[in-house]
């Protein structure tokens, strides 16, 4: 059971990473081209998000009606529905960081094997930021 969840996670991570590379989302210049509406705007990212939601939507809407997932005893899904200051402040800080470098968490990790120096500088800083949260507001 546990071995299956680990293999499934590896496969999901691998497919996710390939999707990031093929779509262009692992390329910060392309992400910034999407975020730069006032410049030479590149709408590709809307197609990436659209394609991802097109496939994920039926799974989340109808797949979760099953009693339980295939390799786990229960669904482990978020149950919060409130919109609080932490959510919005965190999203705002994330958006600023995303706009500065063009990297969000997935693409930064996917880029480690392609541009190791820059991706590792970003990823190490991202981990430091996550740990900083954990030992301050996240205690």
């Amino acid at each position: 059971m546990n071995r299956n969840t680990v293999l499934a996670a590896f496969a999901a991570g691998a497919i996710f990473g390939l999707g990031l590379v093929i779509s262009g989302m692992a390329n910060p210049a392309k992400v910034l081209g999407f975020l730069d509406i006032a410049g030479n705007w590149d709408p590709t990212l809307a197609f990436v998000m659209g394609g991802a939601i097109l496939v994920a939507f039926p799974a989340f809407q109808w797949g979760t009606r099953r009693a339980k997932p295939m390799f786990a005893e229960k669904w482990s899904l978020p149950d919060r529905s409130d919109i609080d200051a932490r959510l919005l402040a965190g999203a705002a800080l994330f958006g600023i960081g995303w706009g500065i470098a063009g990297f969000c968490p997935g693409p930064a990790l996917a880029a480690i094997g392609i541009v190791p120096i820059e991706a590792l500088i970003f990823a190490a800083s991202m981990i430091a930021g996550a740990l900083a949260y954990r030992f301050t507001l996240g205690r």
Partner: protein, 139 residues
């Protein structure tokens, strides 16, 4: 719009969606990168193995792909900006409980208002940050 690549964007996006759908149906979990990474960083996490497996797939598959097929990854940000952006992304995604994958792809597919609010917020701040950096400071 000469950089616009809707077909590869859509195909890559659908792979990202397929990964999220697969991970949901097999393991019953959200394919949210900041959450998976954040959980892996927390000590004493009993169910940590699947987290490391997902992250290993996310790093290894793009590296293997790039060994055979040329992948463009252009980074404009300097090292100090990469560090600042990484810290903001790491802290912000933990404070806000998610990033482009967890809130964006999975949250929108779940029709979670919390995730839709977070996605609207980080997108807005991403657009704003690029506008300021490219057209106010850089202009």
């Amino acid at each position: 719009m000469e950089n616009f690549t809707p077909v590869s964007g859509l195909i890559g996006g659908m792979l990202i969606g397929a990964s999220a759908a697969l991970f949901l149906m097999l393991n019953g979990r959200i394919a949210g990168i900041s959450g998976i990474l954040g959980g892996a960083l927390e000590q004493g996490s009993a169910d940590g193995a699947w987290r490391y497996a997902f992250l290993a797939g996310l790093v290894a598959a793009p590296a293997a792909w790039a060994a055979f097929i040329p992948v463009t990854v252009e980074i404009e940000a300097s090292a100090p900006l990469l560090i600042a952006a990484g810290l903001l992304v790491g802290f912000g995604t933990r404070l806000g409980s998610g990033c482009t994958s967890g809130h964006g792809v999975c949250g929108i597919s779940r029709l979670s208002f919390r995730s839709i609010a977070a996605t609207a917020t980080f997108m807005a701040f991403g657009f704003l940050t690029v506008f300021v950096m490219r057209h106010v400071i850089g202009g």
